[in-house]
Amino acid sequence: MEWIMAVAVGVLFMIGVYLILSKSLLRIILGTSLLTHGVHLLLLTMAGLKRGAAPVLGSGGDAYADPLPQALILTSIVISFGVTALYFVLAYRAYQTRGTDEIDAADEVRGGEEES
């Protein structure tokens, strides 16, 4: 089971990195989202995918799934959710201010070091 997940995580990382290397800010944000998906799946996989009951006491069974990585993933999900939301708004503002969606577009202030 783990090796399928490893391949899936690898594919997510691959696509994420490819998207991050593109010019458009929107594609880059999608790339970071895929990367965080990949890393959350990785966290789940690396803790082991053994069979067991959901980590709720009283749900029966002798063995439970490891609860720690689930808590870590939950924490990491909300953090990356907050950051992604901020990134989207920032991209929108950057588009409004600069008039381009390209992350490294040369604009007129380049080299001129205009102070804010």
Partner: protein, 495 residues
């Protein structure tokens, strides 16, 4: 029990939340923030004294014994860094009062400021690797807000890059934690160290160690610093002072902590890597500082030289090197804060950030000029000032370890630091005054408070150098824990 340890995190967090309710009352925000900042210096000083007397302090959050709960640990290294960070935080806060402007203040500037401090103090004090990640994010998300606040065109150009590189490194951080958890099955730093010692660091654990090195180097600007000179040139100077003094140091602290506590068992591999990256950082930072003729870039590249120096001290792995790391990081936090405060005052006084447009400022601003001169000497490491003791200890550690080339590179980088800052001093303060009028916005600013902030930092920079003998006791205590991880492990995992 020992609830003092959580106060450096709790107090700024409470202030940040409180300040959200008084968005438009900037005077009230300033007073509350200032009182909180002063209280935090007091708390940090108390922690340092307590660690000095009773050894390493630990606090088990929620009463759960490690390795099952999160533990806060203040060894002398962490305590000293919290103290230095709170002093710099206070000074930068005072500097913000006079320079940041009403509009930013009304849009939660002080709230973000205090949340950033929460992240910094928390990163220094935590004893859990995933909790370190969370505090990193607290710090980074506040820094995202501070780097974009104001929304000028330049900020909008640099902020997306800054966010991208930090999201990437945070993702790699989580991946590294996942691998580490799979390899040893724990997250508590002391317990990790024990488990890794039992398993023997080699093979996959070395790969994880290098992954952590990549993650923290991205944050600290150790060799992987390509994002730093541009990003740190975007926000206002008060924010730059905070970033330059604290953000890279937290990354550095994480490197030092990781490779003295969790992965110290195969130093021939990891420490060689760190040494090489340190040399590259010092060389490239030195070249950058010497090459440019605009002040923001010169200052940003000087931040990098400091990072390289600390990493060099770490790579020596000797007791002297460790003490040097502690000493130099204290100096670096204070002096880099001072450097950006003075740089901001200089640019405000000259009305331009280009060296070519400056000259003759010593007649109008003699105080600023001589403070800048002292700063240049302190950064370069001239004996009575704060940079000296750390550099001597680090270079001595390097020579003890037979790293002659690296030691020479380190000394050469000090020379380039001196050259780059004196270049600013010579061209901005001496020579002929240019014919342009200083900009009108100068008159609005109140340099009085900025002066208070600069003098406060300068006193500490001088004091740290002159009183090096008095500071050496705690520094040596910190170096002892860094050189011998078993002290830390025993303090945390005591029965």
């Amino acid at each position: 029990m020992n609830n003092l340890l959580v106060l450096p995190v709790l107090l700024p967090m409470a202030i940040a939340v409180l300040l959200m309710f008084f968005r438009t009352k900037t005077q009230l925000q300033r007073v509350i923030g200032l009182l909180g900042g002063i209280a935090n210096v007091g708390i940090a000083a108390t922690i340092v004294l307590r660690v000095r007397e009773h050894g390493i302090q630990t606090l088990q959050l929620g009463g759960w014994a490690p390795p099952y709960g999160i533990v806060f640990v203040a060894d002398m290294f962490a305590a000293l860094l919290v103290l230095a960070a709170s002093i710099t935080g206070l000074a930068v806060l005072i500097y913000s009062f006079s320079t940041i402007g009403q509009k930013r203040e009304e849009h939660y500037y002080y709230t973000f400021f205090h949340f950033l401090l929460v992240g910094v103090y928390g990163s220094f004090l935590t004893g859990d690797i995933f909790n370190l990640f969370v505090f990193f994010e607290v710090m980074l998300i506040s820094s995202y807000a501070l780097i974009t606040l104001g929304g000028s065109k330049k900020q909008m150009r640099e902020a997306p890059k800054y966010l991208l590189i930090n999201i990437l490194s945070s993702t790699l951080f989580v991946a590294a934690v996942a691998y580490l958890y799979a390899a040893v099955g724990t997250l508590n730093m002391a317990h990790l160290s024990q488990r890794i010692a039992e398993a023997g660091q080699g093979g996959v654990l070395n790969v994880i160690a290098v992954l952590f090195l990549v993650v923290f180097s991205l944050k600290a600007g150790l060799f992987l610093f390509f994002w730093l000179p541009g990003s740190y040139a975007a926000p206002p100077f008060a924010v730059r002072a905070l970033f330059g003094a604290l953000l890279t140091k937290v990354g550095l602290y994480a490197i030092v902590r990781t490779f003295t506590l969790i992965f110290p068992y195969d130093s021939s591999l990891t420490h060689t890597w760190i040494g090489g990256m340190a040399a590259a950082t010092m060389i490239l930072g030195g070249i950058g500082a010497a090459a440019y003729r605009d002040i923001p870039r010169i200052l940003n590249y000087n931040v990098l030289i400091g990072v390289g120096f600390v990493a060099f001290g770490l790579s020596t792995g000797t007791r002297d090197g460790m003490e040097g790391v502690v000493f130099y990081m204290l100096h670096d936090i204070l002096s880099k804060g001072l450097m950006f405060v003075l740089g901001g005052m200089l640019i405000a006084a000259a009305g331009t950030d280009r060296l070519d447009g400056m000259g003759g400022l010593i007649r109008r601003r003699p105080g600023l000029g001589w403070m800048f001169f002292i700063l240049a000497l302190a950064l370069a490491g001239i004996p009575p000032l704060s940079g000296f003791a750390g550099k001597v200890l680090i270079v001595r550690g390097g020579l003890e370890d037979g790293m002659l080339t690296l030691s020479l590179v380190a000394l050469a980088s000090s020379l380039l630091t001196l050259y780059s800052i004196i270049k600013i001093f010579r061209e901005a303060f001496w020579g002929v005054e240019p014919q342009t009028e200083p900009e009108a916005e100068m008159s609005k600013a109140r340099p009085g408070l900025a002066n208070v902030s600069a003098v406060l930092l300068l006193l500490f920079v001088i004091g740290l150098g002159v009183g090096a003998n008095g500071v050496y006791g705690p520094v040596s205590q910190a170096g002892e824990t860094l050189a011998d991880p078993s002290l830390y492990i025993e303090a945390v995992l005591k029965e």
